[in-house]
């Protein structure tokens, strides 16, 4: 825009030119300040996000060098070899959606309770849901070792005659860990949506003879939809990259793609194959989210405000 000099400017007298000059100077100073403000974040994004992702994209087509690490090359071998980690993918693709679903089913009644049935102590109850989220994820996860290992629930069950129940290092343990870890993240956005619910709507619907189920379907659920959409997306995204829960509660028997990645990068040092695995994970995740958002949009929903 600065380069365009209006035809009048050429004929303008000296004072006009001066004004235009100072304006131009001010504008370019303003622009420089804007650039300066955006510089650190741009640098960070380029150096720590764009460049690293480009590098693993390139690596995923490369070959493993003899000592581990990366040797140049252009091959699809890594992608063709993905089948050797099929178990990790199938575990992730079963347990991540299932975990999200169980989280949703467990969280919805609590969010509804918080939004509709609580009065004065709502703020406290809400804080109590958030508190676990602010304490270390790792600590909260390993706490389940106490409960699920031999001296916990299995011992209790044995005392009522159910012997030999194994929980730790099974998919059930991982599922419990998932629900426990991500429940607050699901409750919160749903609560935020339901908070706006006008209770009189429910009363009116009951007065008009609607059953509880009808009210749920026609009033509460549509209102909760944005929160549900957000919660499901947040939990699902985090679950797709999960490593800790299967590592701590799955004991190497139930492993996610995340666990395969740790193995490939830190133990067997097969970077190109690991890169291909990572790229595939991200692609699958983006595809699922894309389809999910399309479906949601088709039914007229849209994600609500962020949680946290």
């Amino acid at each position: 825009m600065d380069a365009v000099i209006s035809p009048n400017a050429r004929h303008a007298d000296a004072s006009d030119v001066n004004i235009e000059r100072t304006q131009k100077k001010r504008r370019s100073l303003g622009r420089r300040i804007t650039l300066l403000m955006l510089l650190p974040s741009t640098l960070w994004f380029l150096l720590l996000l764009v460049m690293p992702l480009m590098i693993i994209l390139v690596f995923s087509f490369g070959e493993r060098s003899a000592v581990g690490g990366y040797a140049g090359g252009l091959t699809l071998a890594n992608y063709l070899n993905l089948g050797s980690r099929a178990a990790a993918f199938s575990n992730t693709l079963v347990l991540a959606p299932l975990g999200t679903l169980v989280c949703l089913l467990a969280a919805y009644p609590l969010a509804y309770f918080l939004a509709v049935k609580t009065g004065k102590n709502r703020s406290l109850l809400l804080t109590l849901v958030i508190v676990p989220f602010w304490t270390s994820f790792l600590i909260r996860t390993y706490a389940w070792i106490f409960i699920l290992s031999g001296k916990g629930i299995p011992a209790l069950l044995a005392s009522v005659g159910l012997d030999d129940v194994r929980l730790i290092n099974t998919p059930y343990a991982v599922l419990i860990g998932i629900v426990y870890g991500y429940l607050p993240l699901m409750v919160f956005p749903i609560y935020v949506s339901l908070e706006k619910l006008d209770k009189r709507l429910l009363e009116a619907s009951a007065d008009l003879g609607a059953s509880a189920f009808e009210s749920l379907r026609r009033i509460t659920l549509p209102l909760a939809a944005p929160g549900i959409i957000t919660g499901v997306m947040l939990v699902f995204i985090l679950l797709m990259g999960e490593f800790l829960i299967p590592a701590v509660l799955g004991g190497g028997k139930v492993f996610f793609v995340g666990n395969a990645l740790v193995d490939l990068f830190l133990q067997s040092r097969n970077w190109p194959f690991g890169s291909a695995l990572a790229m595939t994970l991200v692609t699958i995740m983006l595809l699922i989210i894309g389809v999910y958002l399309k479906l949601v949009a088709r039914y007229g929903g849209k994600p609500g405000e962020g949680a946290l």
Binding site: M37, L48, I56, S123, T135, A143, G258, V282
Partner: protein, 272 residues
């Protein structure tokens, strides 16, 4: 009625594991999984364990540095974007969502490889220019950098939503009363968004302090507290680790309630 019962049992579900850790940290016996009442010896042991204290120090320092960077860069970017054109904003939106949506484990892996490749490139050059200079390596700075990328995106989202919900009339009023732009910013805009900036900082700090997976990849020989805890529970849960966890849980509770107290006092209403 059943709703209340259900909610109560869900609260039990949420707090039972935390309560167990706290209980077991007062164990008088040596086993991590069997309880004998009661002793505080493990707290003493934890605090005199140099590895734990070193890891705690690293974690605190990393979390502080990365949260400061993230808050600074993120807030600057939000205000820069207010002045920038639509295309720049869209680009930044895309980058921000990328940083948030891409799993932490992939961020960890890719920054690990990027740093190693970069250092392999730079180290020989550096050694030629300044002989005897220590080699660049994975450690404190790489963790801070990787954490601050993700948390910067978080800060940007939080601060931006606050900035966009600001009442423009106040700024216009200030300008009408002949306040220069900088003064309007300092006395009108900034006080209104300070809570969002503080919330962003706290979230960034907590994320960095708790993060295991990114640090696991990029920390190199550096040990953070989550890395220490992870590697010790692999060898078996000890009362010492439970004691450390109890202290951390207590500290984060104190932090959370303080911040809520401050927030409530400031706005007079409850914000979650």
């Amino acid at each position: 009625m059943w709703l209340r019962t259900y909610s109560t049992s869900l609260y039990l579900f949420l707090y039972l594991p935390i309560a167990l850790i706290m209980l077991f940290s007062f164990n008088a016996g040596r086993s991590g999984l069997a309880f004998e009442c009661c002793s505080v010896q493990w707290f003493g042991r934890a605090f005199s364990n140099p590895f734990i204290m070193e890891a705690l120090g690293h974690s605190a320092l990393i979390a502080s540095c990365s949260a400061v960077l993230a808050t600074l860069f993120g807030t600057l970017a939000v205000f820069g974007l207010q002045r920038a054109g639509g295309k720049v904003r869209m680009l930044f939106d895309a980058l921000t969502y990328c940083a948030i949506i891409i799993p932490g484990i992939v961020i960890g892996i890719s920054t690990l490889i990027a740093f190693i490749s970069l250092f392999d490139l730079i180290n020989p050059l550096l050694a030629q220019v300044i002989p005897g200079i220590p080699r660049l390596n994975m450690g404190f700075f790489t963790v801070v950098a990787a954490h601050s990328l993700f948390t910067m995106a978080l800060v940007m989202v939080i601060v931006r939503s606050r900035v966009e919900s600001l009442d423009k009339a106040l700024q216009e009023a200030s300008a009408d009363l002949y306040a220069p732009p900088l003064e309007t910013f300092w006395r009108v805009t900034l006080p209104q968004i300070t809570p969002a900036i503080m919330a962003g900082f706290l979230l960034a700090f907590t994320f960095s302090f708790d993060d295991f997976i990114i640090a696991f990849f990029v920390a190199g020989p550096e040990t953070t507290l989550p890395i220490y805890i992870f590697s010790s529970i692999r060898r078996g849960v000890t009362p010492e680790i439970n004691a450390v966890s109890t202290v951390i849980i207590g500290a984060s509770l104190a932090l959370l309630f303080t911040s809520r107290y401050l927030q409530n006092r400031r706005s007079g209403a409850s914000h979650a």
